[in-house]
Symmetry: C2
Subunit: 469 residues, 2 copies
């Protein structure tokens, strides 16, 4: 040990040669110093990559996720499957030997879709595949039967407001991007209700479809009647649009058993590797454990949750312990708008100065390309430097802005944030649909994602200084 | 007219200069003569392409198909929708001004799926999307509840025959090619029944899935018990396979109301442009009008049927009348194994020497690449030469072997055959599934397909000699 220490000391000598001391007795670090510090993690980064991609941990995050997703299935907030998922993870994280494994209680919305179906009655009988949108009211038990008005935009709806009264509004807005198009899902019912419609059916927010509806959360507005709202497939929206443009009268019958229950108890699931030197300082890696009630939630956000767990497992397996605490949080209630994360933030924000970085993977675990990062210019330079450690797997890009509903609360208050960036080209083919299953996951892509996630979180947790903010 | 004739005659002079007469007084034609004859169609080919791709007929086959598919929906043999489709086309072809529009009665199988569902009960409740396979028996009214055995191949089933008794066999055979993998759909029930299974569930014959089952015909064997059989999604097959490999007991409950009724009356739909010089000689262009009972049958085979109609429309619109009769046949009962086409063959085979070529488009109308051709070497050379006329749209390839259930009967007896070749990369994503709708069709691709189909059929119908066989 002494010998090692001596070598280490000698190595540092050129770094600090000729520099003046700061007030607390340390030398002020130049970016060159930081670069050298990061370069010093090269062997550790290689060891992480090797273990995750080629070694004993190869395919582990995929296989763990497969067992979890097959065992639990989809897990919507408020439903028993989510409770089972949380219990499952609590046990799994303890069995994995992680530290401070615990659950932090929160309240989450409890909405259930119940039975639902829709049938086009005119111009011909045709079964319409629907998925009620989260928070939608149900129909009365006998359902709604009404004529359809098809619009391509809110503008068109407003122009044709007189026609919409008493009708079912079908929005046939083609997918541009999730950010751009999702407002038809979230505000479609409100805008339809404002012009007197009795229900709304929304073309799924999906960039490709095999007659597959995609659900998601929607929002009512105070003072606006709450009308039932569901998504339909791209195909059915396009068909009704074609019929409507031909002047054909369309009548749809729909029934939805959707119901909102009182908020339900749930938990954010937490596990740690406690820091060796600054245990009070936190590098947070996360994904959300809840999902929609269709498919298996394997992509949204099973993948993100399980590569986050994998980061702690890999570090533990390598016998590493960073200076700061590496904290895994598996959020609950994300799909309802980051409900679990908001309560976590309220509970822990007094400690905000100790949050070094908040990381979330919630946009797929496909072929990774780099990291989205939110933080100041100096922090960005440091993160870029850290990403050079991922040269061996060629995942080195740093993009503007981290994304993640659950980490937004912290980033808004100035905490640096990071999100995994990967090949999103098929993400919205499966998102919130029955197609979100293990079939879309690729073990090797998950290995690469886990390697990126682990190297970044470990190095940030272990560097001498927190990221500047 | 005289003047034109004179110019034509003068043009022919160099062609026949110095050649000896054959017995019937004409000159024997060299391949050079035929090449010249084909080159003479260059302007007509350009006119067809121009009308189909850029002119007044642009998008017509797509738009006609959209109205048809939206109005009629899916149209399985034996069901009222198919009758409606045939009536619709009979009227549409007459209104289009085609000649000899008529229906030729045939008998087709009549199978209906009725209500059906499947639910995994163990290890957890999970709704399994199924589509019963055509000709399957139903379950008894209370359904079947049995343990599952998952196999990846017939070989594995035979090795584990003892285990299969009393169980539901799940085949999880990954898609290799339709030709290679479809036997699991067509023979899966028989092989399962032979080892005492009570039902079979077959991973859909699909190269991509969004939790979408794909139906299709299957065959029982005399002396082998008839057990209910359905297809399931790739995702559910993979999940049950993973569970099974983990040693987990799977129990599935399934109910199928499938029933076979007596053969039903149906019709092949026929229209013509009668030949000007050899009206008894036939160039047959075709697609099938029946479809599966899911989606809209827009791809299989709406596209093929409607570009075949389009060929006659384009020729009529250009004021052309080929020497031979151009006959459009819209087959019925294709999905049950070319039932309508076989009866057509039996009825017309005495006239086989007058069938110049039989053409069918039944493998999509996506971006075309050329023509599959079955015929002798000399005929192939002629067809290759004809395809050079499609240089303006760069669709000139001639592939070995035409494909088409409905034209096989003729090709086996030596009649040359042609099928449209196009980009099949997504064909089996939609094939026989709810995803076979107008959404998969592209108007421009259909224009190109129609242009290919029209040029080839017109030129063959108008050349002085029939294709050699």
């Amino acid at each position: 040990m002494k010998c090692v220490f001596l070598i280490f000391f000698i190595n540092l000598l050129p770094l600090y040669a000729g520099k003046s001391l700061t007030r607390d007795g340390s030398y002020p670090r130049t970016f060159e110093d930081i670069k050298n510090e990061i370069a010093g993690y090269s062997d550790i980064a290689k060891a992480i990559i090797n273990l995750a991609v080629h070694g004993k941990a190869q395919n582990r995050s995929y296989e763990r996720l497969a067992v979890f997703a097959d065992t639990i299935g989809p897990r919507l907030s408020g439903m028993k499957n989510l409770d089972a998922a949380i219990k499952y993870m609590f046990s799994a994280l303890r069995e994995d030997g992680l530290e401070n494994v615990h659950l932090e209680p929160v309240k989450v919305p409890h909405w259930e879709r119940g039975e639902e179906f829709a049938m086009m009655l005119e111009p011909r009988n045709h079964s319409i595949a629907i998925l009620g949108l989260g928070s939608s009211v149900g129909t009365r038990p006998e359902g709604i039967t009404a004529e359809v008005i098809v619009v391509v935009s809110f503008d068109e709806l407003h122009k044709r407001a007189q026609e919409a009264k008493g009708k079912i509004v079908v929005y046939n807005k083609p997918f541009i991007s999730y950010g751009e198009t999702v407002r038809y899902r979230s505000q479609g019912a409100v805008e339809a209700a404002k012009v007197g419609a009795v229900a709304s059916l929304i073309r799924s927010i999906a960039s490709f479809s095999i007659q597959s509806p995609h659900t998601g959360w929607q929002n009512y507005q105070p003072g606006v009647p709450r009308i039932p709202t569901a998504c339909i497939s791209v195909e059915d929206a396009e068909m009704m649009s074609r019929m409507s443009l031909r002047g054909i009268k369309i009548i749809v019958h729909m029934k939805m058993g959707a119901k909102t229950y009182p908020d339900a108890p749930s938990f954010n699931t937490v596990a740690e590797i406690v820091g060796s030197k600054y245990p009070e300082q936190i590098v947070l890696v996360s994904g959300h454990l809840d999902s929609w009630d269709v498919g298996q939630g394997a992509m949204d956000d099973g993948g993100g949750a399980f590569i986050s767990w994998e980061a702690l497992s890999l570090i533990k397996d390598l016998g590493l312990r960073p200076k700061r605490t590496l904290r895994l949080v598996l959020w609950t209630g994300e799909e309802q708008g980051g409900i679990g994360a908001e309560q976590y933030y309220q509970l822990h924000k007094e400690n905000i100065s100790n949050f070094d970085i908040v990381m979330e993977s919630d946009e797929g675990t496909f072929q990774p390309s780099g990291l989205g990062f939110t933080g100041n210019a100096k922090a960005r330079e440091i993160v870029k430097e850290i990403m050079t450690l991922l040269q061996p797997i060629n995942v080195t890009d740093v993009y503007d802005d981290a994304d993640g509903t659950d980490i937004d609360f912290w980033m808004r208050d100035g905490v640096p944030g990071a999100s995994l960036r990967d090949d999103l080209s098929k993400y919205f083919w499966f998102h919130h649909s029955q197609g979100d299953t293990m079939t879309v996951q690729d073990p090797n892509q998950m290995n690469l994602c886990a390697a990126v996630w682990t190297v970044v979180s470990y190095v940030i947790a272990d560097m001498e200084e927190m990221l500047p903010r």
